[in-house]
């Protein structure tokens, strides 16, 4: 008895105190006590994008174009979205699509993580904790990193809200696309001088000076689109900024910090497993088979039978394929054609044919056929395609014998070859759409590595390099890098274009809808015109 009462006398209870004591959880108040803790939160936003960059963001920017498709295969709907994935191809997506909502959320969640980290970093005393980083530089980088998210959001969703603090305001209002453009531009211009140079430790996968310029160049290249007005009849173009684009391309091209950037020797060097060694990649999303996953082209692109070719410890799922509307852009002498697997497929020994696994073709040799569109006797559509239809992309180097259906190749966001093409395009557009020598030189310099030195097809002239040809060259160079939608819109071919069983779509589909669920929660959001 006595001890019980003594127990309650001595207990440290307090009669109205209801604060929570955390144990296996952390609150912000109990964190940011050491350098390691500060860094762990500083790099949190960078690991967020990994799950969606080569996944849903890529889907929306690529499966909506002629570049590649994920059709039904022998009656089996595509995974990761089913009919919504088919709808991307046909341009019949709706504001109710969960795939669009998830992409929208993934991007804004990245904004949220960055907002939270900026707020946290502002409260940290970098000197006291001996973080070993320049606080202003860290904050500048995070703001430009956030600007990159807003660049993608504005590019994909048009008129969107701008939020700089988590939960404030809880229901942010929509901003006009041109205002988001101006916001992104200002964020970069205000902060880019504080960024680190190439080669500074711990800047791989981060925004360095050249990455910020590349982002600005991309922004200005599309300025006419982004500053235009979205209407139910399509876009009323805004103001072009070709000179600004050229200016920042030049800054990258002439950059010498950390040795500057050079074109890699081979066309596929930027996509190797160890592409952190590339001299060409300016900004990448860092992937790893274990720690930073969702780069899964070894799993998504190949046929299950390819397991025998590459000695994988898993069977690929044969999801993405490319048809002749795009495949035919690659000439036979262009080394970049090697990124496509076509024709009869063999096991690792090079002689044992791989077999088809389903339907009427079961047991027959697997012959990958990209030329089926409008081929006599082949009526395959997105709903009726078979396992052997289409070419398979292997631009990213595959790790033979991999036990894990993940890849360690990093995904280039900005790389020097793209800067060459961007500058060439800006020069041509400034020149009324015609190429000048400088533009031709840019393209020829960039693509020289893709041809033998004696190949007559290697070099453009001012007469052969038309704007359309430049678009095709972009297709060949930046295929699988998630730029096709952006390019087709700039060349006004995204909605009006046709490929395979995709028909012309409504002009307002140059942006995706604001997800209906998001609008139902946040009444301050406005739907994009047309939807």
């Amino acid at each position: 008895m006595a001890s019980v009462f003594i127990g309650c006398l001595c207990s440290s209870l307090s009669c109205t105190k209801l604060d929570e004591t955390v144990y296996s959880s952390i609150t912000a108040g109990s964190f940011f006590k050491t350098r390691e803790e500060v860094i762990a939160n500083y790099i949190r936003p960078f690991s967020h994008i990994v799950g969606s960059y080569e996944y849903r963001i890529w889907h929306l920017n690529t499966l909506t174009t002629d570049e590649t498709s994920m059709p039904y295969k022998d009656g089996t709907p595509p995974a990761d979205g089913g009919d919504q994935i088919v709808g991307l191809h046909w341009h019949t997506w709706t504001k109710d699509d969960s795939e669009i909502k998830n992409t929208f959320d993934a991007l804004y969640r990245g904004v949220g993580y960055t907002n939270a980290t900026i707020e946290n970093m502002e409260g940290v005393d970098f000197d006291k904790l001996r973080v070993g980083l320049d606080k202003q530089s860290v904050l500048a980088e995070l703001k430009i990193y956030r600007a990159w998210y807003y660049f993608m959001i504005m590019d994909m969703f048009g008129n969107v809200p701008i939020v700089e603090k988590v939960g404030e305001p809880l229901y942010p209002p929509t901003s006009e696309r041109k205002d988001v453009f101006a916001y992104v531009e200002k964020q970069i211009l205000d902060n880019m001088d504080k960024l680190a140079d190439k080669g500074t430790p711990n800047t791989y996968g981060h925004i360095t000076k050249a990455a910020a310029w590349a982002l600005l160049a991309k922004l200005y290249l599309n300025a006419e689109i982004y500053t235009g007005k979205l209407t139910a009849n399509g876009l009323q173009p805004g103001t072009a900024r070709w000179d600004d684009c050229i200016k920042y391309c030049d800054k990258v091209l002439n950059y010498t910090g950390g040795g500057g950037y050079q074109l890699d020797a081979n066309w596929n060097d930027p996509f190797k497993i160890k592409n952190e060694l590339s001299k060409e990649n300016i900004f990448v999303v860092v992937y790893d088979t274990t720690y930073a996953t969702e780069m899964r082209w070894n799993y998504k692109n190949l046929h299950p039978e390819h397991q025998k070719t590459y000695g994988f410890g898993f069977a690929p799922v044969n999801r993405a394929m490319t048809h002749n509307n795009f495949y035919k852009l690659f000439g036979n002498t262009d080394k970049r054609q090697q990124q496509w697997l076509v024709g009869p497929q063999f096991a690792a020994d090079g002689v044992t044919p791989l077999k088809c696994l389903t339907g009427a073709q079961k047991g027959k040799p697997l012959v990958l056929d990209p030329l089926f569109v409008n081929a006599p006797g082949d009526t395959a559509t997105m709903l009726t395609a078979k396992e052997f239809h289409g070419a398979r992309n292997i631009k990213y180097e595959l790790q033979k014998g991999s036990k894990i259906s993940q890849m360690s190749n990093d995904a280039p966001v900005f790389r020097l070859a793209d800067i060459y093409l961007m500058k060439a395009e800006a020069l041509m557009r400034k020149n009324g759409g015609a190429a000048n020598t400088e533009a031709v030189n840019m393209v020829n310099t960039m693509r020289a590595r893709c041809f033998s030195t004696t190949d007559p097809l290697a070099k453009y002239t001012t007469s052969t390099l038309t704007l359309n040809e430049l678009l095709n060259e972009r297709a060949r160079e930046v295929a699988w890098e998630g730029w096709r939608r952006n390019d087709l819109i700039r060349f006004n071919k995204f909605t009006s274009g046709t490929w395979w069983d995709k028909k012309p779509s409504e002009a307002w589909r140059i942006v995706f809808p604001i997800p209906s669920v998001s609008i139902s929660i946040n009444p301050n959001l406005k739907q994009n015109p047309g939807y």
Partner: protein, 1004 residues
């Protein structure tokens, strides 16, 4: 004396100290005094004056009713320690100080009498039996009240009315006995099965639907470590006006369990034992081996390439997986009591055996309770300590699901005695899997409580209560290297262990005031309650063992952990929370005619958001005993007639976990730093500073009645309860938040219903009696709104059906919980092997997906009827229980009638379905209504009059779940109907059984 003075002084010093403390410490110190409260007992001890000069008082004490002499009545000089007891003839003699003015006479079961000493020193005292004899007392939380004073819907079930026979859980004792309380043992007599409870429908979208349990005053008591034999009574606070005294935990109703205590003046030893077995009732009719082989020819007509995979045996897989269990329960208890102290000790040993192979549960429970009076009966101390040791092998219901899916021509064993496995199989031999897997847990519970009550003044009592509950568990799991799944997944043995520890403490202090003045009677209560909770856990798992020899006993021997491969890992966690409340209640009664009860609880939880830490839970209820009005005829129809009206606000906080309102950080995906991948830390959830309890407001209108002659009595209650601030993981606004969901309070739900309890004494004479008690309840549920942000949330489809058949349920505003949503069957398209469903064009009630609400799994109506008959020394109980007005989705048929499963097996019913294609529609929805002969018990009480040492002896036989009357075509319609996904007849199941029990009860 000196010591007491010291105590007094030191307390005063402390009080002085408070005033000298710096201001910022004062708040803590006030609380300190609150916890010093027990010291008051010590202080008061010092307050009794000494006595001098004597006189002798003598007399006799009798029972006022029948004038018999009363033995062991305590005679005590008021405000002193001087006392004596009456002898067997009722006489007493006591030496008292000359200045003595009052003598107090007290005895258990009688009203204490205070007698003023006049000139006469010889007294004749007639003691009046207390009205609060056990039958008339209702436990209401923080106290008891007379049944006649009750103004809320409360059902009190005493031991004599408990369900008989084999009882797994204490709540089975009152299954069907409390109107509105639905208890489901969805696994029947599975020794590891848990009963689920729900009162007056579902009133949450996220939290638990289970009523709040209080055991001997311990809030949040654990029923799992309580032996049913130790329970004396179960009181259920059904409506909000009664439950509001439990604040944030009262919304689902409150169940108050009171355990047995020794009675004064008794000494007994009881031994109760029973043994029971389970006989499985009905296994699903899959193809037998003969039918299976015969079907091959039929199947080949449509599948010409099919080759029968004949294992050469004829195996009834259900039989292989089942055994005939024998379970035993032994309960020993000793109790003894004097007027000053009582003690009861009980040990219960329960070896429960399951029908399923490798399924059992062994329990040893002990419980010790005592009461002690001191300070001239002014101080009473009650204590309980209970331990429970459990050891069990987990029930694995998937083996029966897999048995349905198993080729009946496969043997269990190969000729060499090893397990037969088919190389083309995906699940493996279920018998082998069970035998190759050890999966169990050992749990220790230790609970204790002590309550001290002190009479401060004749009408004022102060109590201090402390309780703790502690649970330690360690689980073990090992699957052999040879197990089929281990082999095909390359696990090479799979071992894991986990431990968990939880501990909660309760401190409660109350003041009770009872006063009767003239026609007014008041009983008031004020109190403070503090409860904190802590839980910790740790787990480890590993794979890739060289040998099975270690089993789960040497996790380090596995290679997977070191290699960093899948299936190996470590985890641990710890969390805590606190609940604090201030409460008060007044029960007022004017002339035994007009009754008023009002209570208020102010309660806060650490789990609530910073903006809503504290909630207020008021309740008012009124009673009018019409039968006592003068306008009611004196010898009229009603002996008792009472009208009750109650209003109460309660909360439910079960849906909120610790830290759910806070901005916490957790690890995200790794990122590069210094050329290696390091973990990152970022926001782990959207914080919600507004997070709070679900709030329920309930109105209750009730009538209690008893017809003259005592043959008919009962009660009727009508209620309407509305829950607002429903908790739900809502879609969050992204932007501006980081995570896609946020736990918020939104939405409203309503339950309305009627409940009836009726007790009939049909026959009552010396030889033969027959009483009948009936309960009935009807509940109507409606989800009124779910709104977050700008608009009403879209309907939510939930419970994914197997084989990609979509979701079973749709939850939407304007509809009740438990709606089945799907297509409507029209015909079979045999040609194309497809189902034909009605389309919107044919039936405008269908929506664009050609779907509509095709049933509801939540029963609207429940009824129970128990008949107690006795003839001489024979007694018999017949208990019928029914559930009505609901539908069941027969998932078992939905999947296993498909003949496409022929390579494994399918239900014989499937032969009547001309196609073999999976689709969810109303074709598989059936009416679930049933009536069960739930319990038939016959007993015989042996005449022990001539047997030395034996005071009582009874033998009985009981049958449970004997008959089921239903149109449902599946196994047993008595399945899970509580919660948010009611009425699913599952593929995986534990066999339902008829239970036969033999028992004996001896008293020495």
């Amino acid at each position: 004396m000196t010591g007491s003075n010291l105590g007094q002084r030191s307390l005063l010093n402390r009080l002085k100290l408070v005033n000298q403390l710096p201001r910022h410490m004062k708040r803590r110190t006030t609380c300190y005094i609150h916890f010093c409260f027990p010291a008051l007992f010590v202080l008061l001890l010092a307050a009794f004056p000494a006595l001098a000069q004597n006189k002798t008082v003598t007399g006799k004490v009798t029972d006022a009713k029948d004038n018999r002499a009363l033995e062991a009545v305590t005679v005590i000089v008021k405000d002193s320690k001087l006392a004596t007891q009456t002898r067997s003839d009722g006489s007493f003699s006591i030496n008292v100080p000359a200045n003595t003015k009052y003598l107090n006479f007290s005895a258990i079961g009688y009203e204490t009498q205070q007698v003023q000493l006049g000139a006469s020193l010889t007294l004749a005292i007639a003691m009046v039996q207390t009205e609060k004899s056990i039958e008339d007392v209702v436990v209401i939380g923080y106290g008891v009240t007379r049944k006649t004073d009750v103004t809320s819907a409360i059902t009190s079930v005493k031991e004599k009315d408990f369900n008989k026979g084999a009882v797994i859980s204490p709540m089975s004792l009152v299954q069907g006995k409390v109107p509105g309380l639905v208890i489901v043992n969805s696994n029947g007599t599975d020794p590891n099965g848990q009963s689920s409870m729900q009162l007056r429908g579902v009133s949450t979208l996220k939290g638990s639907t289970s009523p709040f349990v209080v055991i001997d005053g311990v809030p949040g008591g654990n029923l799992n470590n309580l032996s049913p034999e130790d329970v004396e009574s179960i009181d259920v606070l059904r409506d909000g006006s009664a439950a509001a005294i439990y604040g944030t935990r009262g919304s689902n109703g409150v169940i108050i369990v009171t355990t047995k205590r020794a009675k004064s003046g008794t000494a007994s030893f009881n031994y109760d034992s029973y043994v029971y077995t389970d006989i499985p009732k009905k296994f699903p009719a899959v193809l037998t081996a003969e039918q299976y082989r015969a079907y091959a020819d039929v199947y080949k007509r449509t599948n010409p390439t099919f080759v029968l995979n004949d294992g050469g045996a004829s195996t009834d897989w259900f039989k292989v997986l089942s055994k005939t269990p024998v379970s035993q329960v032994h309960n020993f208890s000793v109790s003894s009591g004097t007027d000053k102290s009582t003690i009861r000790a009980a040990v219960s040993i329960r070896n429960l055996d399951g029908i399923a192979i490798s399924t059992w549960r062994k329990i040893v429970n002990t419980r010790l309770s005592f009461t002690q009076k001191a300070l001239d009966n002014k101080l009473s101390i009650q204590g309980n300590i209970a331990t429970s040791f459990l050891n069990y092998l987990n029930s694995d219901n998937t083996i029966y699901g897999d048995a349905m899916d198993r080729n009946p021509t496969f043997p269990v064993f190969n000729p060499d005695g090893s397990y037969f496995e088919d190389p083309l199989d995906s699940k493996g031999n279920p018998y082998a899997r069970r035998m190759q897997t050890e999966d169990g847990e050992r749990i220790k519970h230790i609970n204790g409580s002590v309550k001290a009550t002190l009479d401060l003044m004749p009408n004022l009592k102060a109590s201090g209560f402390f309780a703790f509950q502690r649970r330690d568990a360690i689980s073990y799991y090992y699957q052999s290297r040879d197990a089929f799944l281990s082999r095909i997944n390359g696990q090479n043995g799979n071992a894991s262990r986990s431990t968990s520890f939880s501990y909660d403490r309760t401190f409660e202090y109350t003041l009770d005031y009872n006063k009767r003045f003239g026609k007014h009677s008041l009983s008031a209560l004020a109190g403070y309650s503090y409860q904190d909770f802590m839980s910790e856990d740790f787990n480890a798992s590993n794979r890739n063992f060289l040998t099975d020899a270690f089993s789960y006993n040497n996790l380090g021997a596995g290679q997977a952990f070191a290699a960093g491969t899948a299936g190996a890992g470590l985890g641990s966690g710890k969390s805590s929370s606190t609940l604090i409340a201030f409460f008060g209640r007044a029960i007022y009664n004017y002339n035994e005619k007009y009754l008023l009860t009002a209570s208020l609880r102010r309660e806060g939880s650490s789990k609530f958001g910073i903006n809503h830490k504290w909630g207020l839970f008021p309740a008012v209820s009124l009673g009018w005993r019409i039968s006592r009005e003068s306008f009611m005829p004196e010898k009229g129809l009603f002996e008792d007639l009472k009208l009750r009206l109650g209003y109460g606000v309660t909360g439910n906080q079960e849906g909120i976990g610790a830290y759910n309102s806070l901005a916490t950080l957790s690890t995200g995906a790794s990122f590069l730093w210094d050329n290696t991948f390091v973990p990152t830390y970022g926001a782990s959830r959207n914080p919600n500073p507004d997070l709070r309890w679900e709030k329920k407001t309930e109105y209750n209108l009730g009538i209690d009645f008893a017809l003259r002659g005592g043959k008919v009595s009962g009660s009727i209650d009508l209620y309407s309860r509305e829950t607002s601030d429903l908790l739900l993981d809502a879609t969050a606004p992204v932007p501006s938040l980081i995570h896609q969901t946020i736990l918020v309070n939104l939405g409203k739900m309503r339950n309305r219903g009627v409940e009836l309890a009726l007790n009939l004494k049909l026959i009552e004479n010396k030889k033969f009696s027959w009483t009948n008690s009936l309960t009935f309840s009807y509940n109507d549920n409606l989800l009124q709104s779910v709104t977050y942000g700008a608009s009403t949330s879209a309907p939510v489809d939930h419970y994914s059906l197997p084989q990609n058949m979509g979701s079973a349920f749709r939850r939407e505003v304007g509809q009740p919980i438990g709606n089945f949503y799907g297509k409507v069957f029209k015909d079979f398209d045999v040609q194309n092997n497809k189902w034909i469903f009605y389309t919107q064009a044919e039936d405008p009630a269908l929506d664009a997906q050609n779907k509509k609400i095709i049933g509801n799994g939540m029963p609207k109506m429940f009824a129970g009827m128990s008949n107690n008959l006795s003839y001489g020394r024979f007694d018999m109980t017949v208990f019928l229980r029914g559930t009505f007005m609901f539908d069941l989705l027969n998932i078992m048929d939905l999947v296993y009638t498909n003949r496409a499963r022929y390579s494994n097996n399918f239900l014989q019913k499937g032969l009547d379905i001309p196609i073999s294609s999976y689709a969810y529609s109303n074709y598989f929805i059936e009416k679930g209504d049933f009536v069960k002969l739930d319990n038939l018990t016959m007993g015989y009480t042996i005449n022990t009059g001539k047997i030395k040492y034996l005071k009582k002896a009874r033998v009985y036989a009981s049958g449970q779940n004997l008959l089921t009357f239903t149109k449902f075509s599946g196994r047993d319609p008595d399945i899970q109907v509580n919660g948010l996904e009611p009425g699913l007849a599952m593929m995986n199941f534990y066999p339902r059984a008829t239970t036969l029990t033999l028992g004996i009860s001896l008293g020495f």
